[in-house]
C-alpha cells in the first residue's frame, strides 16, 4: 500500500486518528510520519480559530445558514413577474431572477433568503452617480441611432446608413470627451 500523504513511498506506519469523532486509520510512510509528528508538535498551542474569531466583532446568526437553501414555493397562486414573465419554478430551479421587478414579485420568499445570505437587509454602499441628464440623453440617442442603422442596412439604404454611421461616430466622440473631461476634473480636485 502506498502512503496516503505523499502517495509515493510504501506505507509502513499506521496511525489511528479521530476526525470529527470518527475513527480513521491513516497509512503513511516513515518520512511523512516524521513530518506529521513535527508539525503536530510545533503547532500545538496555536488556537487559530480563536484567534481569527477575535477579529470579528459581531457575527449575525443568519450567516451560518447555507446560501443554497431551497426556497419553498408559496402556497396558492403561482407567482409570476408581470414585467418579464419569470415564474417561481424558474426562480427555484436556477436561483436567478428575471428582471428588476422580480424583486417586488418574489419579495415574500426573497426576504427570508436575503436575510440568510447577507449581513443586513438595507443597502449601505455606494449609489450610482446621479445619472446626468445630458449624457443619458446622448446614450438613448445612441441606442436609437444604432437601431436606425440596422434598419437602413436591412433595407439596403446605404447612403442613409453612411450618414447615420457618421452621426454615431460623432456622438461616440462626444461621449468619449465627456469621460476624459471628468477624469481631468477628478485629478485637479485631488
Amino acid at each position: 500500500m502506498l502512503c496516503e500523504i505523499c502517495g509515493k513511498n510504501e506505507a509502513t506506519i499506521h496511525i489511528q486518528e479521530f476526525i470529527n469523532s470518527k475513527k480513521k486509520v491513516l497509512h503513511i510512510c516513515k518520512v511523512c510520519a516524521e513530518g506529521k509528528a513535527a508539525a503536530k508538535e510545533m503547532l500545538s498551542g496555536i488556537d487559530l480559530a480563536q484567534l481569527m474569531l477575535n477579529i470579528s466583532s459581531e457575527l449575525p446568526p443568519g450567516l451560518a445558514i447555507q446560501k443554497n437553501e431551497s426556497v419553498e414555493a408559496a402556497e396558492s397562486p403561482p407567482m409570476k413577474c408581470p414585467s418579464c414573465g419569470w415564474d417561481i419554478v424558474r426562480f427555484t430551479n436556477t436561483g436567478r431572477l428575471g428582471c428588476s421587478d422580480c424583486f417586488k414579485t418574489f419579495r415574500p420568499i426573497l426576504d427570508q433568503a436575503i436575510r440568510n445570505m447577507h449581513k443586513g437587509c438595507m443597502h449601505v454602499g455606494k449609489k450610482p452617480a446621479s445619472a446626468k441628464g445630458a449624457s443619458q440623453d446622448r446614450m438613448s440617442q445612441l441606442i436609437a441611432l444604432q437601431k436606425k442603422l440596422d434598419d437602413h442596412v436591412r433595407r439596403e439604404e446605404y447612403e442613409k446608413a453612411a450618414r447615420t454611421r457618421d452621426k454615431i461616430a460623432r456622438l461616440k466622440d462626444s461621449l468619449k470627451n465627456r469621460s476624459r473631461g471628468r477624469k481631468d476634473d477628478k485629478w485637479q480636485s485631488d
Binding site: L43, S56, G95, L97, K119, M122, P128, A129, M139, Q146
Partner: protein, 360 residues
C-alpha cells in the same frame, strides 16, 4: 482568421497579476474585485431573448469603448470563440468558468495588460473586474469605483434604494461587489492547519475556495478568499474586514513556515527538493502533479533556496501548464491526456533549464 486571432494576440502578453510585483505577493498572489451591474429596464441575461442579448452587447460595447480605462481596448464576442480560446481566457482569470459554456451573445472588453475587464452578458449585463498582483484591495477599489462612476453617468443601472444594485442572483445584490484574494498557503497545508483555518474563515462570513473550480480544494495549495455578503455593509467595510483577515492568514502562513524551517528542516527541504526533481526531470506529468510540485517549488523560492529562479516564472507556470494554454501554445487541440502530459513536462523542463539549487 475571425476566431482564434485575438486570443493568439493576448497569449503573447504578460499577465500583469502574475508577472508584476505587489505588496505581500510572496503569499498573496493577486487581488481582485468584481462588480455586478445591470441596465435598468432590460431583462437580466438568464431571462432575456437572444435579440435582447445582442442589443445589450452593442450598447455596452459603445459605452465601454468610450471609457479612458479601455482606450487600448480588446473586444471579443465570446459566443464566436472556440471552446479552447474561451478556456484560455478562463485560465487567465478574465472570464468566469460559467462564461466558458455560454451560447448566447456575450462579450469581453479588456485592457491590454488584462488588469481591467468587463464581461458583458454573463449572468448580469456587466461584470466589471479589476485584478492586480499582491494584496491591494484598496487600490483596486479606487480604480474600479472610478470606472463604475463613469459608466453610471452614461447608463441607468438597475438600482433600488433599499436593496442597492439589483442582480440576477440575490446573493450579489446591494454593493454587487465580490472582492477576493488568491493565497498560496503551503505552510498551513503541510502543517495540517488549513482545515482549522477554513473553518475560522467561514465563521467570519467569508468564503474559501480552491482556485481551479469545484472540488479542487488543495490543488497547488492555492486558495481564494472572498466576501459572501454583499448587502448591509459598505464596500469599504467589506474590503477592510477582508484585508484584516487576509493579513492574519499571511501572518500564520509565515509563522508556520518559520517553525517548520526551525524544527523540521529536513522534512521541508525534502518536500521542496523532491518536487524540484520531478519538475526538472519528468517526461510525463499530469496537471495536478505539476500544480502541486510548482507549489512546493514556489515555497522553495520564497525560502531562498533558488536564487536563480524568479518567483514570477513559477507564477506564470501555474497558468501555462493548464490544458487550455498548453494546447494553445502547441497550436493545436490535443484530446489525448497523455500527450498533453508529455507536452507539459517538456514545457516545464524548458522553463527551468537554467535553474540551479543553491548550495547549503
Amino acid at each position: 482568421m475571425i476566431s482564434g486571432n485575438p486570443i493568439d494576440r493576448i497569449l503573447k502578453n504578460r499577465v500583469g497579476w502574475l508577472a508584476d510585483s505587489g505588496p505581500d505577493d510572496d503569499i498573496a498572489i493577486s487581488s481582485r474585485i468584481r462588480l455586478a451591474r445591470n441596465l435598468a429596464g432590460h431583462k437580466f441575461p438568464p431571462c432575456a431573448e437572444p435579440a435582447e442579448h445582442s442589443s445589450v452587447v452593442v450598447i455596452l460595447r459603445d459605452v465601454c469603448e468610450a471609457l479612458p480605462a479601455f482606450s487600448e481596448d480588446f473586444f471579443v464576442r465570446l459566443d464566436e470563440l472556440s471552446q479552447l480560446d474561451r478556456r484560455v481566457l478562463m485560465e487567465r482569470r478574465v472570464v468566469s468558468r460559467d462564461f466558458v459554456s455560454k451560447q448566447t451573445p456575450s462579450a469581453l472588453v479588456m485592457t491590454a495588460d488584462e488588469s481591467a475587464s468587463v464581461m458583458i452578458n454573463e449572468e448580469d449585463h456587466m461584470r466589471l473586474q479589476c485584478i492586480l498582483s499582491g494584496l491591494r484591495l484598496g487600490e483596486i477599489w479606487e480604480r474600479i469605483s472610478e470606472t463604475d462612476d463613469l459608466l453610471s453617468e452614461h447608463i441607468a443601472f438597475a438600482y433600488d434604494e433599499e436593496l442597492g444594485f439589483l442582480t440576477s442572483c440575490p446573493t450579489n445584490i446591494g454593493t454587487g461587489m465580490r472582492a477576493s484574494v488568491m493565497l498560496h498557503l503551503p505552510g498551513l497545508v503541510l502543517s495540517e492547519q488549513i482545515n482549522q483555518m477554513k473553518q475560522a474563515i467561514g465563521k467570519l462570513g467569508l468564503a474559501v475556495r480552491g482556485i481551479f473550480g469545484e472540488g479542487t480544494d488543495n490543488v497547488g495549495n492555492l486558495y481564494q478568499i472572498s466576501n459572501q455578503s454583499t448587502l448591509g455593509e459598505s464596500e469599504q467595510q467589506i474590503i477592510e474586514k477582508l484585508d484584516t483577515v487576509i493579513k492574519q492568514i499571511i501572518f500564520h502562513e509565515k509563522s508556520c513556515r518559520m517553525k517548520m524551517l526551525e524544527r523540521s528542516r529536513n522534512f521541508l527541504m525534502n518536500h521542496v527538493g523532491r518536487a524540484y526533481g520531478v519538475l526538472k526531470h519528468a517526461y510525463i506529468i499530469s496537471s495536478q502533479e505539476a500544480l502541486n510540485s510548482l507549489s512546493a517549488l514556489r515555497l522553495g523560492v520564497d525560502m531562498g533556496m533558488f536564487s536563480s529562479l524568479d518567483i514570477h516564472t513559477v507564477n506564470e507556470l501555474f497558468v501555462l501548464v493548464q490544458p487550455g494554454h498548453l494546447q494553445k501554445n502547441a497550436g493545436k487541440q490535443i484530446e489525448n491526456a497523455t500527450e498533453r502530459d508529455v507536452l507539459r513536462a517538456a514545457l516545464i523542463r524548458e522553463k527551468l533549464k537554467s535553474v540551479r539549487t543553491d548550495k547549503g
